[in-house]
């Protein structure tokens, strides 16, 4: 198997709630970008490709600040939270094809001190690929926001497979445990038990408050290049063995799928594992996009870590905790580190594969998976390995 590209730089800002980042939306993302570029041993002048997060910035603005004098590639993947990992795939193809040498993928927001994360689509769905459908067929009935859209799938899963609230709680508790080992996690020093989870108020039944991701200020960024260029940069690269993305059908409407549990990942995961030439059993950790707990369970199933319907049992008994069979979201994820749109999942995967994860290091981590989830179930996955 040929590695498709490398991640050579990672950068993050502080992840905070009160009093906020104190930076503009662009300034915050630039801070993470500068750190990623420095981490790669590059300068802004050498960044010639930029892939911003949908609706959160323009490549031109990044380039003008970073001094990218040779910007020749830009692209935005319109897949919501699935965009950063899907961007890895596009960036990998771009550097392999010579469209760019070094591609920057930044992302972040003031999801706490600015417009709250929960408001981004609840009041204005027009930015979604299915925006007009949501406007005409969902909003008149108050079906207005992601926890509501996804919780109907969670309820159906509970009905068909007997999945229980306590099992969703296992996911929330595992993320919170991991956050206790992460100095940059917003939920460090705020442990949570399964009793705390079950006592948290309902938001969109079956989703409780603690089933939902955080609202935080923060940004992260990564830099992608070819294995050949990575060799000259002096730092051990992390290799992208494969990356893939996919859409459910239909992707713009969530209630009328023939298979209600089918997501973009159902298509993307077999492609990614096939190209990498490995199976889910070969993976040492997984950073799974955790906008809500059930989406973690669903992605574990659709990615093939367990069979459909077995996700509830899979997440029990510490299997997804550090020291378990498949540690998931070793940084604490969107649920307990910060909501950095899944860029923080890529950063954490790289850190693990560099052996730089400190107290939360997965022993002898060689291969890791990172996924993205966006809009009405768009999916993306990258399979990464250490040098």
């Amino acid at each position: 198997m040929t590695d498709e590209a490398c991640i050579v730089g990672i950068g993050e800002t502080a992840y905070v709630r009160k009093p906020g980042s104190g930076l503009s939306l662009l300034g915050l993302q630039l801070q993470a970008a500068v750190r990623a570029i420095e981490d790669a041993g590059l300068t802004g002048r050498q960044i010639d490709g930029i892939m911003p997060f949908p609706n959160l910035g323009h490549a031109e603005s990044f380039a003008a600040n970073l001094g990218c004098e040779n910007l020749r590639f830009q692209s935005i993947v319109w897949m919501g939270g699935a965009a950063p990992v899907a961007s890895l795939r596009v960036a990998a193809a771009a550097v392999r094809q010579g469209l760019a040498d070094h591609v920057l993928i930044p992302g972040g927001w003031n999801g706490y001190s600015g417009a709250r994360a929960r408001q981004t689509v609840a009041e204005d769905v027009s930015s979604l690929p299915g925006g007009a459908i949501a406007r005409d067929y969902y909003l008149p009935f108050g079906f207005s926001a992601p926890p509501q859209w996804y919780s109907v799938m969670a309820r159906r899963h509970m009905h068909e497979f007997g999945t229980r609230a306590e099992q969703l709680g296992c996911i929330a508790v595992a993320m919170r445990k991991h956050a206790q080992l992460n100095p940059n996690a917003v939920m460090k020093a705020r442990p949570m038990s399964i009793e705390d989870y079950l006592a948290s108020p309902m938001l969109a039944d079956p989703y409780r408050f603690f089933d939902c991701c955080l609202e935080t200020d923060g940004a992260a960024a990564v830099v992608v290049t070819t294995p050949e260029r990575a060799r000259d940069l002096g730092k051990e690269p992390v290799f992208i063995m494969s990356a893939a993305a996919g859409q459910p059908c239909p992707a713009d409407e969530i209630t009328n799928r023939k298979d209600i549990f089918q997501t973009g990942l159902s298509l993307a995961a077999p492609e990614a594992f096939g190209r990498a030439g490995i199976s889910p059993g070969d993976v040492d950790f997984a950073q799974i996009y955790d906008c809500f707990t059930f989406e973690v369970l669903q992605q574990l199933e659709e990615a093939g870590f367990c069979k459909r319907g077995e996700g509830g049992a899979f997440v029990e008994g510490g299997r997804i905790e550090l020291g378990g069979e498949l540690p998931v979201n070793t940084h604490g994820g969107l649920l307990s580190e910060a909501h950095v749109l899944g860029l923080n999942h890529i950063v954490e995967a790289v850190r693990q594969l560099r052996g730089d994860a400190g107290e939360r290091q997965v022993a002898e981590a060689e291969v890791g998976v990172v996924t993205g989830w966006g809009d009405f179930g768009d999916g993306s996955i990258a399979i990464l390995r250490r040098a």
Partner: protein, 142 residues
């Protein structure tokens, strides 16, 4: 009129243009009609320009039996849209119609805690204003 909460923020309404105008126009006439492909017979919802099964552009707005079953639902305990703050708890419900299509709606006669998967339901129409009528559902009289 149930369309305005005490906050005074009006609930969002569909835009009555294009295919959505057709769908809600039927509702205003107190008929639940879904698109049905004139060539392969496939029912569909939400309205689409083309038949994804056979590629046909030809369709009719065909009358639904109005009957279906509860497929799934959520109970919104905390509204994320300001117009629904006073409505909590309320339950957006996915109904699977006898024709096979699914519709997102609300029940008029069933508290959230009384909902059950496969509960038999039938359509009722709720006039929001003189232009907009929403299809909602009630338990089928057995």
């Amino acid at each position: 009129m149930v369309n305005q909460g005490e906050t005074g923020i009006p609930r969002p309404l569909p835009e009555l243009e294009g295919l959505s105008g057709d769908f809600y126009g039927y509702c205003r006439d107190r008929e639940l009609r879904f698109q049905r492909c004139s060539d392969c017979g496939q029912w569909r919802h939400v309205p689409r320009e083309m038949c994804a099964e056979c590629g046909s552009w030809n369709w009719e707005g065909e009358r639904s039996s109005g009957r279906g079953r509860v497929f799934t639902w959520t109970v919104v305990a905390r509204a994320l849209h300001p117009a629904f703050q006073d409505a909590c708890p309320y339950a957006p419900v996915v109904i699977e119609m006898e024709e096979g299509v699914r519709v997102l709606s609300e029940m008029t006669d069933c508290a959230p805690e009384e909902l059950e998967i496969d509960l038999p339901v039938e359509v009722v129409f709720e006039d929001v204003n003189e232009d907009v009528t929403l299809p909602k559902f009630r338990r089928t009289a057995s």
